[in-house]
């Protein structure tokens, strides 16, 4: 039986019954949705009606709307998403799991004409005429500046086999970007616009999302055996008597609505009690850091709802702990989480990579493997990161399509702060045949892995395992492996590849914020980010806005340092090229240190010289010239020189050349080489047992 959608009148009644958020509205809504949807898990199909209330924020009349129809990215192999990714079309073709969204009608509320015939697909990004993820809908009459329009859309959505951010795997369904959704009309003056302009994009291989805040009132009718988790708070769960249940969720002041349904999900609720979780001492410390009163930083209680399969029951404690930690840290630093509930969904293994690790308003998904070792840092890292997006993407709704570095960079930066502060370094693992093996310090990589036997031996032999690594060190390592591919401030579909997308949006911005901490102090950075958050909550800022807030907090100009790092692929690499020390008289020595700037980023720093008698001297170097000689006078010969002695330049792509010693000691190299020799011999002799 195909479920029937609720009639429009009932839908309107639901809209009228919408209750305001606890404590009232936080922002004036721009795009609000009242949706009634019936879901048939057998066909993965959603029949829905939505009543959209959209406000023209601009000072110009609007003649047409833009609608995102992102499920059409999974319609066939010719969509822009499929062309930009590898293997997804084959997966969907092989499983018959294509997805789509069809718009049946678009009517102005209260009896207007059907606008569906005038709807046309547009492709402003790449001109791919086969892409149907973005539509333009002509209005019968211009909507005046500041005016509001209410229109109803009838649609049928079919979820794809989960390959990216939405879809199903067996009985598990995750619905993201599942309803027709209005794009963002940016008025003149916002994000550098000189005139009101639609910022609505096609669905790309790497892009995430961008939308206006509003109120959501969604009633999902699903079979009674399904456990449902969704954006917002559930205000009603009503059996319909035909084996189906209507779940009604309401949430104000968010910009999207996602939900998960699965008969095997287990539900576990806990309350983040702010008074119990945040000590007075912590409150005072952060208040001091931010220069505010502790009272102004008070957090609210939040109900955290965790939905997992039974296989992951043993990891629930870890997930809850990380979630509470995130609510506390982000809340204290950037402002309290303003919603009553947070839902965490852990998809089962077949959907883990596709929909796990994703942010949605008041709902996040994480990836978790039941075999993850306790010291692996998972699922803590993803839990903290995705919850961080509630602030960076959720509350401050930057355009994730054109400036993904803002939310990904800030969420990752804060995650590194939290995890390194609370959990310390985590261990790396190589997964072989689904088994987590401790990552070895030395890798045996002989080209394309014909068989996994040799990497396996490489992991087993010697037990000389890689030492635990901090999140910051992991970020540096990922960045330093490919630092010059794309500038950070690049549209998310323009990166060379997925790896470059991650380096530019996650790792490099994270290092940039850590660099700023060392340049201007962590208090100034946190104050700047807090200001940025408060200034642009429920808004759409740009990278320039964050730089402005940081400069204000630091009380100095930062662009000359940050622009090369964000707008170009310039690297930061200071080096000591040479050290010389000579006796200049009785009991006095003159030392000359040659310091070089090998990267494109010129940053002032310090050159430190350490002498044989244990004394040290420092000299400033502005870092502008490609090279410079720095001289020191001392009573003992120079032992070593170091540029950037405080390690402020966390983006330095080659920190090994920051130090130069006058008389190199061979012993460490011999020890390192001996270790490697022993490891390789062990490996060879083990292979000798086979051939």
């Amino acid at each position: 039986m195909i479920p029937r959608p609720l009639p429009v009148l009932a839908l309107a009644a639901l809209a009228a019954a919408s209750a305001p958020a606890q404590g009232g509205r936080l922002t004036e809504p721009v795009a609000s949705y009242t949706i009634a949807a019936s879901f048939d898990p057998g066909t993965h199909t959603i029949h829905g009606h939505e009543l959209v209330t959209w406000r023209n924020r601009s000072l110009a009349p609007v003649r047409e709307l833009r609608l995102h129809l992102y499920l059409n990215a999974f319609r066939d192999s010719q969509s822009t998403f499929m062309r930009e990714t590898e293997g997804n079309a084959e997966t969907l073709a092989g499983t018959g799991g294509w997805g789509s969204i069809e718009v049946g009608s678009i009517r102005i509320a209260d009896g207007g004409p059907d606008l569906r015939p005038g709807m046309r697909f547009i492709q402003p990004d790449d001109g791919n005429l086969d892409d149907a993820t973005l539509a333009a809908v002509a209005l019968p009459a211009p909507l005046p500046a500041g005016g509001t329009i209410r229109f109803e859309v009838e649609f049928t959505a079919r979820l794809p086999r989960a390959v990216k951010r939405t879809g199903y795997w067996k009985d598990f369904h995750f619905a993201g970007q599942w309803f027709p959704k209005v794009g963002v009309l940016e008025p003149a003056g916002e994000r550098g616009r000189v005139a009101a302009t639609w910022s609505a994009r096609q669905y790309h291989g790497q892009t995430e999302f961008y939308a206006d805040h509003g109120d959501y009132d969604v009633t999902l009718t699903v079979p009674a055996d399904l456990v449902v988790g969704a954006t917002g708070r559930r205000v009603e769960q009503r059996p319909l008597g035909d084996g189906r249940v209507a779940h009604r969720f309401i949430q104000e002041d968010v910009h999207d609505f996602a939900w998960a349904a699965d008969p095997r999900l287990e539900e576990n609720d806990r309350v983040f009690e702010a008074k119990r979780e945040v000590s007075a001492e912590e409150l005072r410390q952060v208040a001091d850091l931010l220069g505010r009163s502790p009272q102004s930083l008070q957090l609210s209680d939040v109900r955290v709802r965790l939905l997992t399969r039974p296989e992951l029951r043993h990891h629930q404690e870890r997930i809850f702990r990380a979630a509470f930690l995130a609510l506390e840290s982000y809340g204290l630093w950037y402002g309290a989480y303003p919603y009553e509930q947070l839902t965490i969904v852990v998809p089962p293994r077949g959907a883990r990579n596709a929909v796990g690790g994703m942010e949605h308003p008041t709902l996040v998904t994480i990836e978790e493997n039941p075999w993850n070792p306790a010291d692996s840092g998972d699922p803590e890292m993803l839990t903290v990161h995705e919850i961080g997006h509630q602030w960076w993407y959720g509350l401050v709704a930057n355009d994730e399509v054109t400036e993904p570095w803002l939310d990904e960079g800030l969420a990752t930066y804060t995650t590194t702060r939290i995890l390194d502060r609370v959990y310390g370094p985590s261990s790396g693992y190589d997964w072989t045949w689904g088994i987590p093996l401790p990552a070895p310090r030395y890798a045996l990589r002989l080209g394309p892995p014909i068989v996994e036997l040799l990497p396996l031996l490489g992991s087993v032999v010697g037990g000389r395992y890689e030492s635990p690594r901090t999140q910051l060190a992991s970020a540096w390592r990922s960045y330093a492996a490919a630092p010059r591919v794309d500038p950070v401030r690049t549209g998310s579909w323009r990166y060379r590849n997925r790896s470059s997308y991650f380096v530019s949006n996650y790792w490099k911005p994270t290092l940039v914020f850590h660099l700023l901490e060392r340049e201007v102090g962590d208090a100034a950075v946190l104050r700047g980010l807090r200001t940025f958050q408060e200034r642009h909550r429920f808004g759409h800022p740009t990278g320039d806005d964050i730089l402005l807030a940081l400069e204000e907090a630091a009380g100095r100009e930062l662009r000359s340092l940050l622009d090369p790092l964000l707008l170009r692929t310039d690297t930061l690499d200071h080096a000591i090229a040479d050290v010389r020390t000579e006796r200049s008289g009785a009991g006095s020595f003159t030392s000359r240190v040659e310091v070089r700037r090998l990267g494109g980023v010129a940053a002032p720093t310090t050159v430190e010289a350490m002498f044989a008698d244990g004394t040290a001297q420092s000299r400033p170097w502005d870092g502008s010239a490609p090279w410079a000689f720095v001289e020191f006078s001392s009573t003992a010969p120079l032992e070593r020189a170091r540029v950037d002695p405080q390690g402020a330049f966390v983006l330095d792509v080659a920190p090994s050349n920051n130090v130069r010693v006058a008389s190199p000691r061979r012993a460490p190299a011999v020890a390192g080489g001996s270790d490697y020799l022993g490891w390789f011999q062990s490996l060879l002799l083990l292979i000798g047992g086979v051939i």
Partner: protein
Amino acid sequence: MVPEPPASDRRRDLSLLVPSVLVAGLRLAARHWTLVLAAYVASLVGAFVPAAAAVRALLASTANGFTPAAGPRGLEGALAQGLIGDLHFEQWIGLVTFAVLWIGTTGGALAHLARDGRRPASLGSLACDGARLLPPLLVMSALTVAAAVALGLAHASMEGRLATRLELWEGERAAAVARAGLGVAFLGAVAVASTVMRYARVDYLAGPDPGIVRGIAAGLRILRRHPASVLGLQAASWACGLLLIAAFSWLPPRVPVEAGLGRAMVVLAVGQAAAFLHAGLRIAVVAAELTLWRRLGAATVPA
């Protein structure tokens, strides 16, 4: 036709045959220290090129105050790994060099032990035997490697198909166990192929009528008749090797010697002692295989 072994021989598979031949092998290895020395030198020469490249990279960085324990600014050794983590070409050279030396050395050792297990081998005669026997032994080892590669490809293909099949499985644990089980089965298959070829080598060098095909047939025969013994010895060989490696990996970080030349010497000494003992174990296993082959009566010429 090969006569079936008497029932008492089959029962011996369940006895202490494996430990006893391993002990016998260890005794032989202890008596023939030149063979152990040669095996150790083979590992040293094999590891020379990649290790030299690693030392060169590390020495070049000593001017930058390199210490292997931690990179600058506490980047947890990431620097150290970066310095010597990209020696793919050198690793290939080391592996091929070692394979050739090792095959000649162990073949020569086996030939000597088969000829006269009491008289110590001279390095000269070992070298002559190794060089003389190298071509057929290389062929046999190449067959082992080819079998391992074929099994690897089969494993990769089966893993792909299993992944498709696993799409229908709900259970996390069941899926993980299935995948790991397939990997273990792959390891087992490699061990079986390796065992057959190792006894083919024994038959080739110690049997009355050398021939590669005949040797492989003999290897298959001994595996079919005495699977527990021959695979048990193989498993014991791997287990002892891994145990040895684990023990010697555990040791260096716990040696109470400060950084500097002293520590470098300790690391070198411990690593080389481990390699020497491991080489001894490998020679002992070769001797044990010969002993087992003889005890099981596999040397009997088929009618």
